[in-house]
Symmetry: C2
Amino acid sequence: KCSPSSCLLKDEDTFKILIATDIHLGYLEKDAIRGQDTYNTLNEILDCAKKNKVDFILLGGDLFHENKPSRRCLHSSISMLRKYCMGDSPVTFNILSDQTVNFNTTQFPWVNYQDENLNISIPVFSIHGNHDDPTGAEGLCALDLLSASGLVNHFGHSHSVERIEISPVLMQKGSTKLALYGLGSIPDERLYRMFVNKQVTMLRPKEDQDGWFNLFAIHQNRSKHGPTNYIPEQFLDDFLDLVVWGHEHECLITPARNEQQLFYVTQPGSSVATSLSPGEATKKHIGLLKVKGRKMNMQKIPLKTVRQFFIQDVVLADYEDLFTPETPQVTKKMEDLCYAKVIEMLEEAEKERIGCPLTPEKPLVRLRVDYSGGFETFNTSRFSQKFVDRVANPKDIIHFLRKREYKDDIKDEVTIDYGKLIKPTAVGGLRVEDMVKQYFEAAEQKVQLSLLTEQGMGKAIQEYVDKDEKDAIEELITCQLEKTQRHLQARGVTTEQDIDAEARRSEHRGAVSTPFNITVFHQAMNRAKANRLERGEESVDQDMPDVDMNFADDDVVASPAPTRGRGRGGRGRGGRGRGKGECC
Amino acid sequence: KCSPSSCLLKDEDTFKILIATDIHLGYLEKDAIRGQDTYNTLNEILDCAKKNKVDFILLGGDLFHENKPSRRCLHSSISMLRKYCMGDSPVTFNILSDQTVNFNTTQFPWVNYQDENLNISIPVFSIHGNHDDPTGAEGLCALDLLSASGLVNHFGHSHSVERIEISPVLMQKGSTKLALYGLGSIPDERLYRMFVNKQVTMLRPKEDQDGWFNLFAIHQNRSKHGPTNYIPEQFLDDFLDLVVWGHEHECLITPARNEQQLFYVTQPGSSVATSLSPGEATKKHIGLLKVKGRKMNMQKIPLKTVRQFFIQDVVLADYEDLFTPETPQVTKKMEDLCYAKVIEMLEEAEKERIGCPLTPEKPLVRLRVDYSGGFETFNTSRFSQKFVDRVANPKDIIHFLRKREYKDDIKDEVTIDYGKLIKPTAVGGLRVEDMVKQYFEAAEQKVQLSLLTEQGMGKAIQEYVDKDEKDAIEELITCQLEKTQRHLQARGVTTEQDIDAEARRSEHRGAVSTPFNITVFHQAMNRAKANRLERGEESVDQDMPDVDMNFADDDVVASPAPTRGRGRGGRGRGGRGRGKGECC
């Protein structure tokens, strides 16, 4: 499918766009088995774009898994983009909009293929995701290294927190006019609030508004996680024709019509499974979008290098004819059952892999074992040992969980309380948290905090813990101290008493006077924990069951033993809650 | 001087080469006053190259100060190189050598200006320094990100530790033939040993050997630090014409003739002071080297954006007419004397700065106060306060030291014992060391170390502590464990007893059986401490005198109080020991 013969619509009026998202380059790059996966798949995607002679590539965010990608990761991405996206094939569309507005993150605010020093054959347009979003005083993200190098066109970066104005990149190819809108990832709650407060505006070309095909790339929660922790499709303008929705990892790439807004939404899904949840088990695809006039066609292209992932559920209580909790050697029997199930999946995987030389040999396998009804869990390390040579994730094949036992607790929506899910003591070495805490204690003694605004501090802590932005807090303090010093100097304040008085006066201007509001701190800490788990910084303690929030449509509670959220922290989790149905 | 009018030798047979080294981009980038310095100076250097229409730029290593430069640092370097080194001016020399040998660190093993997708006007050739040297399993350095982007030609990277063969980049412009040799930084002791063992070879073109101008870029200790901790010029082949010596920070750019080898050595020096030693106070220059046939000419170009640095020595015992240790209020009088000296330097700085709009306003100032003869040090924090608005380094202007009191201890050479200079307890929060130690203890309990080779472990620890290569140790262990597992499997070893027996047997194959040889560990620890100090991770405890190894030609000992080596660890220190004489 991914071959030149698929150029059915060879037409000088047709945009051919390769659509992909959530490539998560560098995910588990240290893993002996899976370390090469994301690199192979980016290579496949770029190769596919080249073979299909697309006009451009559109990425929906999270090209990088880490906010600060490793040297290897940066080096690989640069090398691959240079290899596939530079060359002599001419780019045949024009850009009509103000490029200094569209591409505002580098000193080179123009599209790369129009730079006379670069010979670009396939321009890449990308918004940033929540994994690779801008941080630090400069507001730069990993993507900006690629855009400074001229390899990617980073667009959709809103620099204001007050108001978002999305200016489209206006493109024309022959008679087709395409308005490309983009909005890089923003914390869902904030963006939700901004939509509600009418602070988000999508600008439109003044002339011939109906002549444009309006394409929008967004990277947010699409499924509802809490009342304002997602972006309802209804928030988006109804003049749009197609929304490319990044961040959600399940492949639902076939455009689905929103009957209320009358636009279509395509959710390409990630090109790598970053969690072992049902959404990630859906076959991975990228899209070849063709746009002619205001008509579009989306061709699904299955990815060949993606590691297979099989997931099955076993409810032990359903096997009464085989065993009950009282059966002698029940653990052995449970293990045998699980063994058979895993073998079943492996056989299925092997069958599917026939004729697919690019598919990695060892699949990902997950068996979710519901042990409610009085069963005990068994030690999975011996079980893992049996599959070391056949499974890519031998250490976490089995996932024990229990159905919610108190039916009256069931609600329509799963509300996630990270504080409950993640037991702090279960996380080894809380170094970051400890350091922040120490900092707070020290700072409090010096009454420094009375000079820091709550908002600034909250943001700095978040950057510190979420983004590994080690200087965020220091930067804030320095900046705030300087401001304060200037302020005091201007007012002729020189003695310590004067300073105290001035600080008390400043309380009225929104600075924090009492010991720092600890809520912000706790929120950040919880997020940090969840994030570290997600980044795969999990120890190998097998016997701790983890909690899967995607378990079918049933409500699931954490087992009473210490539990851990695996890869589903407040940010960057994928493949959630879109059910198990076939999607594309 | 840095203007187009300096093109005296406009000649189609003349190579014009801009020579610079040790730019240390990103040094102190978080400093409110000095943070922009290295960025301004790289900009000046590139601008100068462009204005002088050079054929190429040759960098002698340490373009980056940090092995893992920050995002800002990478972004700035990419942006500046793209701005200055891309464009339409044609490059008029050819490369005759095998480029796949010369440029072996990327997938694009050819010189950037011959890449048909890049429009390069000024090719940059660079070796790596000790600060930005290759690390990790891939052996990539920060420079390789630039070379993958096509902005720099990284050469002189030897991938073998057994044998170094330096293949020159053979260039021809008109009738002039230039052989450019390069050797990226290698630990001095190792390279010294390899030279002694004849493991270093410089390859020469087969034909017309006398027709080539032979230029060699090297980044090593030039001055002697211990018997084998430098590279004697005599080690280098005598067919060379000019050696560009990086790493040493003092500007000694005027080529000096080595009468034994009959070649010249130019030591451009760093373009930023990374320590407050006399060598760094020498005016900073870059060079415009012209080569025609086998003749050369080096033009010194003073750098205009470099922050001024003034250093003076005061020997308190010389002021008997003013005060002695017994004088009432002697401390006040000492302070007054020091104050006057600093003011003197500031006035000199101001005078020099007239007509130099690019020079930063606040100079670096150091006053070295010899307080031997019974004086006490004074608290410098109040002293610092007086210069906050006028000096770039108010917190460390004063540097107390004492002359060696036992004359019979004087030796011809200063032998440096880092263990003595750096008192571990003086270094706050030995986190890295603690972690490594913990690791060792834990590992020892599990008898894992009996499976690790000493060499591998030594190298891994070094990368861990020196390069912030967090995964080095883990990588080694994983690799070694896998090897061991394969080995055991192959031999059919399955029980624990068998494994123990096998491990004992393997002692004969060079693995470490006894608890790990602690020497390697201690060496790495000492280096780590020195490095951290060097990186500017110094706390602001003023009252701890530091030891300056460059103090004139006198021997100096550490004062008995806790002492600290400032910025002169085993690696990457600059500006040492070339005396105080005018150099260029």
